[in-house]
Symmetry: C2
Subunit: 342 residues, 2 copies
């Protein structure tokens, strides 16, 4: 059989535009000319944040640099299978004596997204900023921001190719994980030809889709599935089925502990013909953390802002006090304004 | 930017082994030398079956042939967005006067899988058999059986490339749909580098991942989500959490009608550390349709066979009579034998 392209290295290296190439060149310079690096990413880190950090860590280790990784929060348990994850330190437990020359900030639109890690940045630090959010504030000395990429890890991966780091099975697993987490296993609108292509390359390099899917998706604890059942039992439809909602009361939350409610609202996304979904989690008596989702153009960020929250057009959150009926009523009234506006 | 490969057509055409090439050549001969074709696939058609049929239908229409499609069952509603789906006829409603010269049987390991369509096959018919099941019986005059492919539609797609049919956005949507259905959106063990690569090609040709995901995955009716909530409320763990099960009683099933319980058992797959999952659906009073899943090597096909059912090592089903406690007890006893054997 003929190889599909003669030059495998070339095939794996995406043709980059000049601007990104020049930024990569500057990053290479910073890496070549410095020794001590600190890597960080945003609070509540997701799969893309964690895998971006760990791929960059692998790159710096390959270049024989002294590296520390520091984030505000702990890494969610489901990412414990990722190579290098044990090197990620919680900011408050970190050694203050480490004095990095350069900082690498990944998947974060602005420095506030770093949480308490922001306080460690000093004026003399060189800052490398790599992100895929259109709203990125370009806070770095070098900024590689490409919102056409599904995930930050796709950009970091291209940098590793540019810097000629071999893609080990461990790195391939990281890149694959970051992409499926940010694209919802290729179901979200950011799923591109390129993200599928990179994942195909990662499988060639040793990532095992089934193994990764098991680690990422088959992780619900007994308590959590019972909590999900309790929440789904409260599902209601409003506005002729355009809005779908559910809640989990503090009473049940406390009884069933520990319940991981992350992603509960996404179960409502499976319901057909709804436009907006929300999940009300009573985190403490009378205090509801609300997660909102929009399947189309309805701006749930705008709705969340009305209650002092925020997020994205299609995924946002806020906190509202009251009993469940009051909180639901306030949300439905606000959503009604948006639904009428369509 | 340089194109990634000069010859796009060549890039899209997988290097095929000689055996498959020669079979493709024979299929091309049959298509060139006959005019009337009947296409069919297996009972309870899934996304791969439907999309294989429709891609082959597009190919035969492109070659200006007279074609009918006939299957035993109706096409599940969620596939109604697929191009050409209106041409699929239910066997019992089909015009008996149509006298095909050749039959195209897709995604079916043997002729019994066709259900009542099997009775329409005559000795003088030429039979083209394309499948990806290792157990395929090679019942055709031409057999293209490749169990290294994730799906039958991947093989049919290669045939369309071989026969130089352009990949329209409609065809790309069909191929993409078939692959995500058979790989569980790239989560099942059959997810290969090649399936990801073909899907990347399909996006390039006009398939829209987000649109297809919405049609395939965001399809749960209000009744179904209420049925799911009722089923999840019955979740139990046995054998120290190695087995997880739930049921839906006839009483609730009837009350909530119509509930589509297809895939309910897969929700249990999300639970960590379990090895086997089963879902008992009381289809009529005292009669349970049982769906079994195995995450690893435990052979649920063997368990199902003990009750007169069957399937695959990792997904099987059977029917058991009794009340819910009796049925559960009998399954748990049988599973215990297998768990001990590990």
């Amino acid at each position: 059989m003929k190889p599909r392209c003669k030059n495998l290295e070339w095939r794996f290296m995406r043709p980059l535009n000049k601007k990104i190439l020049s930024q990569f060149h500057r990053i290479q310079d910073i890496i070549d000319n410095n020794d001590r690096f600190l890597i960080s990413t945003h609070i509540n880190p997701d799969g893309d944040a964690i895998s971006s950090v760990l791929v960059f860590y692998a790159l710096l280790q390959y270049k024989k640099k002294t590296v520390q990784i520091c984030i505000q929060d702990v890494v969610p348990e489901k990412f414990n299978f990722l190579s290098g994850v044990e090197a990620i330190q919680k900011a408050e437990e970190m050694d203050d004596l480490f004095n990095p020359e350069a900082l690498v900030i990944l998947d974060s639109a602005d420095l506030n997204r770093l949480g308490c890690v922001k306080d460690r940045i000093k004026k003399n630090h060189l800052v490398i900023n790599i992100d895929h959010h259109a709203s990125n504030q370009r806070f770095g000395n070098v900024n590689v921001v490409d919102d056409s990429e599904s995930s930050a890890v796709e950009i970091v991966y291209q940098l590793t190719r540019y810097m000629k780091m071999p893609t080990t099975p461990e790195v391939a697993t990281l890149v694959y994980t970051g992409i499926i987490c940010d694209t919802g296993s290729f179901r979200f609108p950011n799923t591109s030809e390129r993200s599928l292509e990179v994942c195909a390359e990662m499988v060639k390099s040793g990532a095992v889709p089934e193994y990764i899917a098991e680690k990422i998706y088959y992780r619900m604890s007994r308590q959590t599935i019972k909590g999900l059942a309790s929440a789904l039992a409260t599902v209601e439809f409003h506005y002729e089925g355009r809005v779908c909602c559910m809640y989990l009361s503090y009473e049940i939350l406390k009884e069933a502990e520990p319940v991981d409610t992350e992603g509960f609202v996404d179960y409502l996304m499976a319901v057909d013909e709804t436009e907006v979904e929300f999940f009300m989690l009573e985190k403490s008596p009378g205090c509801f953390r609300v997660s909102l989702r929009s399947k189309n153009t309805l701006d749930v960020n705008g709705v969340a802002r009305k209650f002092g929250g925020g997020g994205h057009v299609r995924a946002a959150g806020c906190t509202i006090n009251g009993n469940v009926e009051e909180v639901k009523f306030r949300l439905l009234v606000e959503l009604g304004v948006y639904l009428d506006g369509k």
